[in-house]
């Protein structure tokens, strides 16, 4: 059974790159353009991992994580923050919102895959 990853980013380029990389590593990938779309996508897909950009229109990544953690079904669903902000402040903000981990953009494909494996096998 393939694991399914939801990639959330307002940048199409970034979504497609994440999607391509993970599909190549044997994952199913669904995409969403912002936090709200991500919540919608979670409702209709059984997702094993969410990779979310932080800075997005409509609903940003931090809000998405908070919403997820407030929803029983997604309380323990792994969420990776995908962010160019590599500073600790951003990270800890995400952590306290309930993020599982982080990936710093730009990533190389091997790094992305290894981080994804780390949190969802």
């Amino acid at each position: 059974m393939k694991k399914k990853v939801l990639t959330v980013d307002d940048s199409r380029t970034m979504r497609e790159m994440v999607s391509f990389t993970l599909k190549g590593a044997g994952y199913d990938v669904v995409e969403a353009g912002d936090g709200q779309q991500a919540l919608n996508a979670l409702g209709v897909n059984k997702v094993d991992l969410v990779i979310a950009d932080l800075n997005m229109p409509v609903m940003d990544g931090i809000t998405l994580i908070k919403r997820m953690r407030a929803t029983p079904a997604y309380r323990t669903l792994p969420v990776l923050m995908l962010t160019t902000e590599s500073d600790d402040k951003k990270k800890s903000e995400g952590r306290s919102a309930g993020a599982t981990g982080w990936i710093v953009k730009p990533f190389d494909p091997a790094k992305l895959i290894s981080v994804v494996q780390k949190v969802c096998g």
Binding site: V58, V79, E85, K105, P106, F107, Q117, G121
Partner: protein
């Protein structure tokens, strides 16, 4: 990273969209109008361009985008006040960013100094002095992340002597916090990762497990001790625990006695968090140590970004963004679908044609089914076409920039007003709108509007208005560009036209004819060639392009009050509803939108007019008759209008006329095929199509027919091929 280079195309496409978003946002930004949603949208656009650029290693682009982003960040956190100067700088920065993307896309080197001025201007708003260092590698986000990885590995290597060939035994004690699971982390993945590194013995300590009635199901009460025989380094062993530093403590001890060094056997109670922190700090330090001023900004922006995101994070949900259930489909796929529907329309017509001769009454069900098929085909076609429909706003949105630049260049005060941006039209039309609109707006600002002083002297407000509007009208899209300028200077236009030999001296032309002279090839009123218009490439090209699309353009002008250009185009360039007619052995298609009615005239309705042409009385009005067989030189056609049919047609801007044909064969949806793809444009012919029997029929261009018939004088006449080389020629020159 080579695998990802295939996404460059996506990146460039997306960047083009983002640049437009940024530009339109910036164009609306002013000290009086600081819409936070728009500012955020601009910030995100630049941010995304930078992010993607980093992924492909476009270091200069990333460095510049970074400056731009930093300033935008200041704007959105209100630390940088919005001034006209700032907006100008940001617009220029957006241009420069566009050029950098262009160079990246074409893989051409960036000319030295491309970013200097713009970067300096940006720096002014950051309170920095001097140009930013163009030290590209240290500024590159890609480089920094590479450094980060290296540093983490280095930290591990420093703590324990580098792994030698032999494996060592490690003891890993993992004591997670009770709420670890709530961050989405799952210890089983970490333990499995350790298992994969070598031979692992895992002990689970369940001593903290409470009795069932005290147990919180989402809490974690377990601790683990792992003995691991592996050749991995300590850093590699720590790696699976990267994200749980704050959720628990990981103790990693090397149990193997090695000769490598005295520290080897010492227990290090290193919280992974500490490693992570020390992994990221040296990254910043090493960057700074390389002496780049750029990096200072980088980290500053990081903090600022974090701060503002924290402030706005939870609250802001910009409503402008189009969300919802949309998918992005490759254009090729849609085009294939459109083509397929086109072929289906042809097939359906073919079946209909074959069944037309069936004896009536006998195959009722078949005919009913066919009628339904026709209906469904029509609906399918409309659905498919609506997929490709786009609001003209996507073209209109490019115009504010043009107006701004032209206003600056000409020293005129101009306000652009737009309306009807949501009017939808097929993408084939959208693509062809940009150039004509650009020309028309140029023309309005350059020739139409007066200087502020002249306007004041004429009792008008100093600021001129150019209005751009779109609307649907009788199955076509009508776009108007109007200005409140001086109107067409008719005496001067006539004088110039005579001077340029386009009109015989002494010709007497009506006001309307004079206005239309501006569409003549080669016509220009400019005495000197300016940057803006006056290169002789102007309204004639606009008209030619428009008529090539089956569209018309007309101009209306009132001296002192302004001019109005009216452009009318079909809603799609893919399919049209037409009437199939026959002349001799040939069949043609007349666009339904041009047809008023068809009549079978009595002999008494027909009259000759001064031996020039025939006219016919239709509904109390005389209309000029045009014999299609004469105009096109078709043998074997009905020559007497009273024995054939007259189709009353009209076109945008021009009057009515009666087209004499042999027979009207029926109404049909036809797929528009280009004649020009493999041949050339022909006068009076808009395009071609394929009828049910597989034969080609020409789709008539009614306005073109009108021009031809005026040109040839007597409602028909054969022209030579040499004439066909010249574009929709000069019907206006009636010297008297």
């Amino acid at each position: 990273m080579d695998d990802l280079s295939q996404f460059k195309q996506t990146y460039f496409e997306e960047s083009a969209e983002l640049l437009e978003v940024a530009e339109s946002g910036l164009l609306r930004l002013s000290p009086d109008n600081q819409d936070m949603d728009e500012i955020n949208a601009v910030f995100r656009a630049v941010h995304s361009i930078k992010g993607g650029g980093g992924a492909f290693g476009f270091t200069d682009l990333v460095a510049f985008a970074h400056e731009f982003e930093t300033v935008m960040d200041g704007v959105r956190s209100s630390t940088i006040p919005v001034t006209t100067d700032l907006v100008d700088t940001l617009i220029i920065a957006n241009d420069v960013l566009g050029r950098l993307i262009g160079h990246a896309q074409e893989n051409t080197p960036i000319p030295p100094g491309t970013t200097d001025a713009a970067a300096q201007a940006l720096c002014r708003f950051l309170g920095k002095t001097g140009a930013p260092t163009k030290s590209t590698d240290s500024a590159s986000a890609e480089a920094t992340s590479a450094t980060a990885t290296a540093t983490v590995a280095g930290a591990g290597a420093g703590a324990i002597p580098a792994a030698d060939d032999g494996r060592k035994t490690w003891c890993i004690r993992f004591t997670p916090k009770q709420d670890l699971l709530l961050s989405g982390n799952d210890p089983s993945f970490m333990l499995r990762a350790l298992e994969r590194m070598g031979e692992a013995t895992i002990d689970c300590d369940v001593s903290d497990l409470p009795s069932l009635d005290h147990m919180e199901p989402e809490n974690l009460y377990l601790k683990w001790t792992v003995q691991l025989l592996t050749d991995q380094t300590k850093a590699q062993i720590e790696d699976p625990f990267e994200f749980v530093a704050e959720e628990g403590v990981v103790e990693i001890t090397c149990l193997s006695e090695t000769a490598a060094g005295p520290t080897a056997a010492k227990t290090e109670t290193a919280s992974v968090g500490a490693v992570a922190v020390s992994g990221s700090r040296p990254e910043a330090d090493s960057g700074a140590a390389s002496g780049s001023g750029q990096l200072t900004v980088y980290s500053k922006s990081g903090e600022a970004g974090a701060k503002t995101a924290a402030n706005k994070g939870a609250g802001g949900a910009p409503p402008t963004q189009v969300a919802g259930h949309t998918i992005r489909v490759d254009l090729d796929k849609i085009d294939r679908l459109v083509n397929m529907v086109g072929e289906m329309v042809i097939t359906q017509a073919m079946v209909a044609e074959h069944l037309r001769d069936l004896p009536p009454g006998e195959f009722q069900e078949l005919l009913e089914g066919l009628e339904q098929l026709a209906q469904h085909t029509r609906e399918l076609r409309e659905s498919v076409m609506s997929i490709r429909a786009q609001p003209v706003g996507s073209v209109f949105s490019r115009m504010p920039r043009l107006v701004r630049d032209l206003a600056a260049e000409t020293g005129k005060d101009v306000v652009l007003e737009t309306s009807g941006e949501n009017t939808e039209v097929d993408k084939t039309v959208i693509e062809n709108l940009v150039d004509p609109l650009t020309h028309m707006i140029r023309n309005s600002i350059d020739h139409g509007l007066e200087t502020p002083d002249a306007r004041e002297a004429a009792g008008k407000p100093r600021t001129g208005i150019v209005h751009l509007s779109a609307q649907h009208r009788s199955g076509r899209i009508v776009i108007e560009v109007s200005d409140d300028g001086r109107g067409i200077n008719r005496p001067r236009v006539l004088e110039k036209a005579v001077e340029q030999g386009l009109v015989p001296a002494g010709a007497s032309l009506s006001d309307e004819d004079i206005d239309n002279l501006i569409f003549l090839p080669g016509f220009s009123t400019a005495d000197k060639v300016s940057n803006i218009s006056g290169r002789g490439v102007g309204m004639d090209v606009v008209r030619r392009n428009i008529s090539g699309l089956g569209g018309r353009i007309a101009v209306y002008s009132a001296p002192g009050q302004g001019s109005r250009f009216v452009l009318s185009l079909p809603l799609t360039l893919a399919v049209l509803d037409g009437m199939v007619i026959s002349v001799g052995a040939e069949r043609f298609v007349l666009p339904l939108t041009n047809i008023v009615e068809s009549l079978r005239p009595k002999h008494a309705d027909l009259h000759g007019l001064v031996n020039k042409c025939d006219v016919m009385m239709a509904r109390g009005e005389y209309v000029r008759l045009v014999y299609l067989h004469k105009l096109f030189g078709i043998p074997g056609a009905v020559e007497d209008a009273s024995k054939g049919l007259v189709v009353l047609v009209e076109s945008e801007g021009d009057g009515r006329l009666g087209l004499v044909v042999d027979e009207v064969l029926g109404q049909q949806q036809v797929v528009i095929k280009s004649l020009e793809a493999n041949f050339r444009r022909l006068d009076g012919v808009g395009a071609a199509t394929i009828l049910g029997d597989g034969r080609v029929a020409l789709i008539l261009d009614v306005a073109g027919l009108q021009e031809m018939s005026q040109h040839s004088g007597s409602g028909g006449g054969v022209r030579q091929i040499s004439d066909l080389a010249s574009p929709a020629a000069v019907p206006l020159l009636r010297a008297s």
